[in-house]
Amino acid sequence: MKVSGSIRWVIIGEIVIPILLLVFGIYHGLMQALYRAGIIKEMSVGGIEYYQGLTLHGVINAVVFTTMVIVAFGNAVFLYHLKKPLRPAVQWISFLMMVVGTLMAAWAMFAGKANVLYTFYLPLVAHPFFYIGAALLLVGSIVPLFLDWTPNYISWRREHPGEKVPLAVFGVFVNHIMWVIMLVPVVITVVFQMIPLSLGLISEVNPALSRTLFWAFGHPLVYFWLLPAYTMLYTILPKIVTGDGKLYSDSAARFAFILFIIFSFPVGLHHQFTEPGITNNYKLIHALFTFGVAVPSILTAFTVAASLEYSIKSKYPEVKNSLFYWWARIPYISLEGDKWLVSYFMAGLLLFFVGGITGIVNASYNMNLVVHNTSFVPGHFHTTVGGLVTLSLLGISLYLVSKLMGKEIRFKGLAVLAPWLWWQGMLIFEYAMSVAGMHGFPRRTNAGISYLNPESPLYRPEWVGYAELSAFAAFVIVLGFIFFAVSFFSTLLSPRVREDILELPNAEALHDEKAPALNRLTPWFAVSILLFVISYIPALYDVTKRGVFFDSPGYNDKNPVPITKPQSSKEKSKETAKVE
């Protein structure tokens, strides 16, 4: 279908801007690996300090890039599948909010006024622009849901009584409603704790409360990243793998999404197992729900594998009776038509398999003691958000840009090899980071000037080999990204060769049932919100036992003296009293 002028540019902008920023984000990823391996033994390189670069790496790659591309994909899905126009005013407001917010936060980070990492734990305080920018980005990302997608969804259902909404729309819609729910706790801590402290309006905050609210958002967030990728695995991958493949089961896919609605929220305490102030059994309950949320991922693995098997076997009858040989017929590396996109999903899936297992280790209550805050954790999430999620979003970005701008994909060979280099690099990286983590190598640490510096009294030689291996892996990953970037920007800048259209592959379902219970969203979301609230009441009670607003003044990263100074100002007033 043809997309009207201005909406088309919004969607293209929502893809090109984050990918431009990703260049910085990935550069800083490489730098992290070099610092940590002791190859760089400095506090800063090129005026950007280690922890500043780490903040940029996390915020750009995991927050800005994902959010904007997910909104772009959502817009494309709603437009294409419901065939209803989006509202230019809504789209431009959303887009501008996201861009302005990103620029504000980027300024704070590049200026070194927000060296707080992407988890921005209080009582470290960043410049107010960092928080306000992040808030604008997040609010901008939910504008289309309220003013574009929901009205279109409702009117589509009214015009098609008794029909199911297309699965892609279902997935994207569910995901964005979850996004709105999970934003509530983080907005509370940002608006009532972080921004006031950063502006100096209040002088103390309760950091334990802030952490609890942050992780009530921080873990559901990973499903916000993941579900668009799952939507693509369900609707796009089975189709393009043979050109006319089918999704094995529509209801299983919807059932998986419903399970995500229910279990994505009561899980955040599994990031806080080692923290004081929250009763152990509440943490154990969150661990149980985290195991629950692994179920829909396992279901997805089954359905995707079954769809691939069905599609391949119906296309190539000669492998019909083979148990394993059909795997060889998956077009892992193919330049034919849209099959280049298969490599992004397959490389992502193979990484996600590792990420799923290490994720269960992280969530495993007492087992978490071995790995908490070691490099095992970044090893894990580089194969999930840095694996399946990033590769799916990069793949769909290139796909949408080529369609929406009417361009032929340039350097298709590089575009096909990119995800495999990324996959290989990330596997090595995950191995090195995980094993080092089990030997106690901490995450988020500029180890090059202390633990991995042979001249330092803190030298820990047992970590050197793993850290160097992860630096090697980082080069492989970056090479993969360079392959992608060459193809992406050449395609972007190449002359138009055909009419610009919006088109998304959409696999029909082999087993298609009515399943009305799976298509009513309101009751499931009601259950989900109820469970979210109930699972958090005891934890919130625990962390606010000593009071809601007190505990700790704010600090910046350069100085052990509080910047909101309640104690020293008291001392000062005492001193002045003495002088008088």
Partner: protein
């Protein structure tokens, strides 16, 4: 959903349920539990080592930007140590290498873990949560001395 899918679903649930059961057994039956929740100890402002008996110690660790107090602690092998940890400023981390002690130091609250040192040697402790520009230097150790002068 067809039969294969249903059995995939049931297998997933049973598998994860079994695994979770083992975790609960390890936590409650074998007492390999996560740090105990303490809400009744007032956050201290000084680190110290208290010896209760020849092989019973209590260490109050205060994490500050960018050091731990007390610094290196020496104890005899076979000692059981009660570790209390709090932070004097921002969030810090605390992991004793080679043990299951892995704690977060959160200002305003105290966390607790018990550990027994059965092998002599140097036990490194690193801060594993980002706490500002000096984070990478924030480390200390426990020296567990071998049997002879026990």
């Amino acid at each position: 959903m067809d039969r294969a899918e249903k059995s995939a679903f049931i297998t997933a649930v049973v598998f994860l349920g079994f695994f979770f059961g083992l975790l609960v057994y390890a936590a409650k039956g074998l007492n390999i539990d996560i740090p105990t929740c303490i809400t009744d100890v007032k956050p201290f402002t000084q680190g110290q080592v208290i010896q209760h008996a020849p092989d019973r110690y209590e260490i109050h660790y205060l994490a500050k930007m960018w050091y731990f107090e007390p610094t290196d602690v020496e104890i005899p092998v076979g000692s059981t140590v009660d570790i209390y940890l709090t932070s004097g400023d921002v969030i810090h981390g605390f992991q004793i290498d080679g043990t299951n002690v892995n704690l977060m130091a959160v200002p305003g609250s105290v966390t607790y873990a018990r550990v027994r040192f059965d092998k002599p040697g140097v036990y490194h402790i690193v801060c594993h949560e980002y706490c500002g520009i000096g984070h990478q230097d924030m480390t200390t150790k426990i020296l567990v001395k071998g049997g002879e002068q026990k």
